[in-house]
């Protein structure tokens, strides 16, 4: 199941709808544009392309328009759209899949802050097996240059005992690292 799946005609990628189907078994053509997903989307007010717009663009093979807009990265994965869709189109999973496709083609496509957050988070897990908040904040700030944001809250967090200063690795850390390596290798093959 390759992200770039070709139709066999030269090196043109398959239509977006087909690629989404290959990743998810979902058929975007089921969407009849009722708009319930967008009506419930908490981020719709901040998006130029809302969930039902993205479904329409997926149907009409306009990955170019989707990629040019930050909308897919503003998705909170709150699943409200999927819970409400009357025709079981699972827009949340469709948007997930589009993110996978766009990121596979261009790893730098996602906004720096979001990408850096996820990278920093997973870095902590890979290092110690659990997410260490102080480590996360430090590496996130280094990646994004947001050194001073939330710095005022650090004393408040500390005085409330909410900022753990020390962190230990779990005993099975080698297992966790193996999980990371194996999953990355699988993803690489795609």
């Amino acid at each position: 199941m390759s992200h770039a799946e070709t139709t066999g005609h030269g090196s043109r990628p398959a239509p977006l709808a087909q690629r989404i189907h290959a990743l998810t078994e979902l058929n975007v053509a089921k969407c009849y544009q009722c708009g319930k997903c967008s009506a419930g989307c908490p981020m719709a007010g901040e998006m130029a392309l809302r969930p039902h717009d993205i479904m329409r663009l997926a149907m009409t093979n306009r990955l170019d328009r989707i990629s040019a807009d930050p909308a897919i990265w503003l998705c909170l994965t709150c699943e409200t759209c999927t819970a409400r869709c009357p025709n079981e189109c699972d827009p949340a999973r469709v948007i997930d899949a589009i993110r996978e496709l766009v990121a596979a083609a261009d790893p730098k496509a996602s906004p720096n802050r979001l990408r850096s957050f996820h990278k920093s988070f997973l870095q902590q897990v890979r290092w110690s097996g659990r997410m260490f908040e102080l480590g996360l904040m430090i590496t996130y700030k280094m990646r994004t240059g947001t050194f001073f944001a939330d710095v005022q809250s650090a004393p408040g967090m500390m005085s409330r005992g909410k900022l753990k200063m020390v962190h230990k690795k779990i005993r099975g850390i080698d297992e966790v690292r193996h999980i990371f390596e194996a999953c990355e290798a699988e993803e690489g093959e795609q």
């Binding site: 908490p42 819970a83 997973l122 409330r160 909410k162 999980i179």
Partner: protein, 302 residues
């Protein structure tokens, strides 16, 4: 009652109160929490946003360990952990391609037999015991029950309560003697992981939630998710810029239960909140021992 326990990373630090109040309440209710040995992070949003297989494997390791410890059920109090563990179990059960990859990735036997439960599910089951042991009910306290997203959605995967009109949290709030209010933004997203990477969105969403709770007459908000708590409590000061008065206490459901059980405030972690909740603690008024009102039983038919 004995149940497997997966605390998750946030209960160890930024949401210590959830862990503290949960353990205190379980002690009081006679529930034994059996922590999964050497558990790892479930991967939360970051794993499923970047690597689908990783988002299944990280939770699966925990379930495999739970299985090897003989657990049949595991309580995951954090809504995200609950959602990720449940999703991983669901995918392994329904997607043979993913299931086939697990043995090589986990290097552990795993038969996917563990049932994952969330905090509301377990507390609701204990509601009769809570009602019975509530020596200091929170009488007349108006509580807005805030569910957030991940406990209820996607409905086919979490299969819990009603995804549009849930009632499990209200059941527990009634059991502690308080009055749940009817309000609109019970299942709206708080902004979740954007707390760090896109704070203005979280401030906007949180302000709307607090405004609505206040308009419905709530004196406090009850939550069951560490990130919802952080976004509504820790970020409440930032909402002041949107004209929201930062004085709405946000409590974990387990803190409310602990108060009603007459447990000391120190054992529940309530003092760790950013918006002071001492006023809510004062509403837990001990009552003289009264016989529990008998519930009328319908006569047996046939």
């Amino acid at each position: 009652m004995k149940i497997g326990y997966y605390p998750g990373c946030s209960l160890e630090a930024a949401s210590r109160e959830m862990n503290e109040s949960l353990r205190s309440v379980c002690d009081g209710l006679g529930v034994e929490l059996d922590e999964i040995d050497d558990w790892n992070c479930c991967g939360a949003t970051s794993a499923h946003s970047t690597n689908h297989l990783l988002s299944v494997a990280l939770p699966a390791r925990n379930l495999a360990i739970a299985e090897s410890q003989g657990m049949t059920e595991v309580l995951a109090p954090c809504a995200a952990c609950f959602n990720r563990l449940t999703t991983a179990s669901h995918e392994i059960a329904h997607d043979p391609a993913v299931a086939a990859k697990m043995p090589g990735i986990l290097n552990r036997p795993f038969n996917n037999t563990v049932r994952v439960r969330n905090l509301l599910d377990v507390m609701r089951e204990l509601a009769p015991v809570i009602r019975e042991k509530a020596v200091a009910p929170l009488k007349d306290l108006k509580v807005a029950c805030y569910y957030g997203c991940l406990l209820l959605r996607p409905p086919e995967i979490v299969k819990f309560d009603d995804p549009e009109d849930p009632s499990s949290m209200e059941d527990v709030v009634r059991a502690v003697g308080a009055t749940p209010v009817r309000w609109n933004r019970r299942i709206d997203c708080c902004g979740a992981a954007f707390s760090i990477s896109r704070k203005p969105s979280v401030v906007r969403l949180g302000a709307a939630i607090l405004d609505d709770a206040r308009a419905a007459g709530a004196e406090c908000i009850a939550v069951a998710c560490p990130l919802c708590h952080t976004n509504l409590d820790f970020r409440q000061k930032a909402m002041a810029a949107r004209g929201v008065k930062p004085d709405m206490p946000v409590l974990f459901l387990t803190e409310l239960v602990g108060l009603a059980l007459g447990q000391p405030v120190e054992s529940l972690g309530i003092k760790r909140h950013f918006v002071p909740a001492a006023g809510i603690a004062d509403r837990a008024v001990p009552v003289a021992a009264e016989p529990v009102a008998a519930v009328p039983v319908a006569p047996e038919v046939g």
